[in-house]
């Protein structure tokens, strides 16, 4: 009996969503994940003021490993946000991108960086409220979370789309992006790059979603 139920279980309307646009974004994100996997951190050089002297900062191996893990995880979350065909999954991935952005710089022992990361972390936590609320209102009014289905059912309520936009802005875009300026003082160049890449790709995807649903 149970075998019959499981065999006829439909796959559901929540499927992966790839168009020409998202494939390009996917390739871009995948490229930066591979870059984070293979590259070593660069050593920042400080010039001593008024002299010819300079010194390079060494990146400790455990800090490098932590940053690399967080950068790869952030890249994979970005890929998830790009390829998902489900509004709620998109909001979850957006929230993860926000928190992993902080994770990349969390191990850096620099007071300015930690201060900025903490206040940015508070914004990220607050931004999950409009994100999830927007997705939930779409589910309640349109009856589905699948972007394929939503594209056919006419526009979703404006308030839900605005809430998603505000939420994604909080997860790493202007005007809150200013909060990230101090964060990027952290050493470890190729991994810090993932902060910008994930924000850019998230922005490009949310524009597509808001125009589709």
């Amino acid at each position: 009996m149970f075998e019959q139920i499981l065999l006829t279980l439909p796959f559901g309307d929540i499927v992966h969503y790839l168009s020409g646009y998202t494939v390009v974004l996917f390739a871009f994100a995948a490229m930066f994940v591979i870059l984070a996997v293979i590259s070593l951190p660069e050593k920042p050089v400080d010039i001593v003021f008024g002299t010819d002297g300079y010194y390079t900062k060494e990146i400790p191996v455990d800090l490098m490993k932590f940053q690399r893990f967080m950068a790869i995880a952030c890249g994979i979350a970005t890929i998830g946000a790009i390829t998902t065909g489900d509004v709620f999954n998109f909001t979850l991935f957006a929230a993860f991108i926000g928190i992993l952005n902080i994770g990349i710089v969390a191990a850096v022992k620099n007071k300015h960086v930690l201060d900025a990361a903490f206040s940015y972390g508070l914004v990220v936590m607050m931004a999950t409220v409009p994100l999830f609320a927007g997705a939930a209102i779409i589910a309640a009014t349109c009856g589905t979370l699948s972007i394929w289905e939503l594209a056919g059912t006419g526009p979703a309520p404006l308030v839900a789309r605005l809430l998603i936009l505000v939420g994604v802005l909080g997860e790493g875009m202007a005007p809150f992006y200013i909060g990230k300026a101090e964060i990027t003082r952290a050493p470890g160049a190729p991994y810090i790059l993932m902060i910008h890449v994930s924000s850019l790709l998230l922005f490009l995807r949310v524009v597509e979603i808001l125009l589709t649903v």
């Binding site: 926000g98 969390a106 972390g121 936590m125 999950t128 409220v129 994100l131 939930a136």
Partner: protein
């Protein structure tokens, strides 16, 4: 597709209004608060209001959406509170005093083994909890080296079992019973590993 009757629609609108009043009150609380740690706590409360809006869908879909929302919220509060500790230089590492009595040497292994065996017999989420309780009691005892690496290994294997079970569900649905059993053992190991780490939190590490 979720179909709502007229009464349900009115109920939903009223619920949304109440939820948004709660959200506005919560956000105004953040604006008034100046202390960092209090801000963090209030913002954790704010996240609950977001879950309230999800809960208003009031179907089993809402339940399926609240769970990941809650997990994201927990992950965020953990990460940001670790950041706060690092920022305020509160990450001190000092070893805790162990309770020096005879019974802490003999009783925990016996109770621990009994609970772990019963938990393995039960399997699933509840089995994992009981087995984890056994391990917690064991780690609380005297002269115990906590095998962190082994616990992490077990959690990794549990994750792999879980993924294999999902693949079997998707690809070979006729073998669903095997998949259920794999997932049950996987979640037991996972819960056991996670919970037993609580038993090691004595101020050390």
């Amino acid at each position: 597709m979720i179909e709502l009757s007229l009464a349900m629609t009115q109920l939903y609108t009223a619920g949304i209004a109440v939820a948004f009043i709660a959200i506005i009150i919560a956000f105004s609380a953040v604006l008034r608060e100046k202390d960092d740690i209090h801000k963090l706590i209030i913002i954790d409360l704010i996240e609950i209001t977001g879950l309230v809006v999800i809960a208003l869908i009031a179907t089993d879909l809402a339940e399926a959406l609240i769970l990941p929302g809650l997990v994201v919220g927990v992950a965020e509060i953990m990460a940001v509170s670790e950041l706060w500790l690092a920022k305020e230089n509160l990450q001190q590492k000092r070893s805790a005093k162990k309770l020096d009595i005879e019974v802490m040497k003999t009783a925990p292994p016996i109770i621990g083994i009994m609970l772990a065996a019963y938990g393995i017999f039960l399997t699933g989420f509840s089995g994992g909890l009981i087995a984890a309780l056994g391990l917690m009691v064991y780690f609380l005892g005297k002269n115990v080296d906590v095998p962190f690496a082994k616990i992490e290994n077990a959690a990794g294997y549990a994750w792999a079992l879980w993924v294999i079970a999902f693949l079997i569900f998707m690809l070979v649905p006729s073998q669903w019973f095997l998949a259920v059993m794999l997932a049950a053992v996987g979640i037991m190991l996972k819960v056991m590993a996670k919970m037993s780490l609580v038993g090691t939190m004595r101020g050390a590490e």
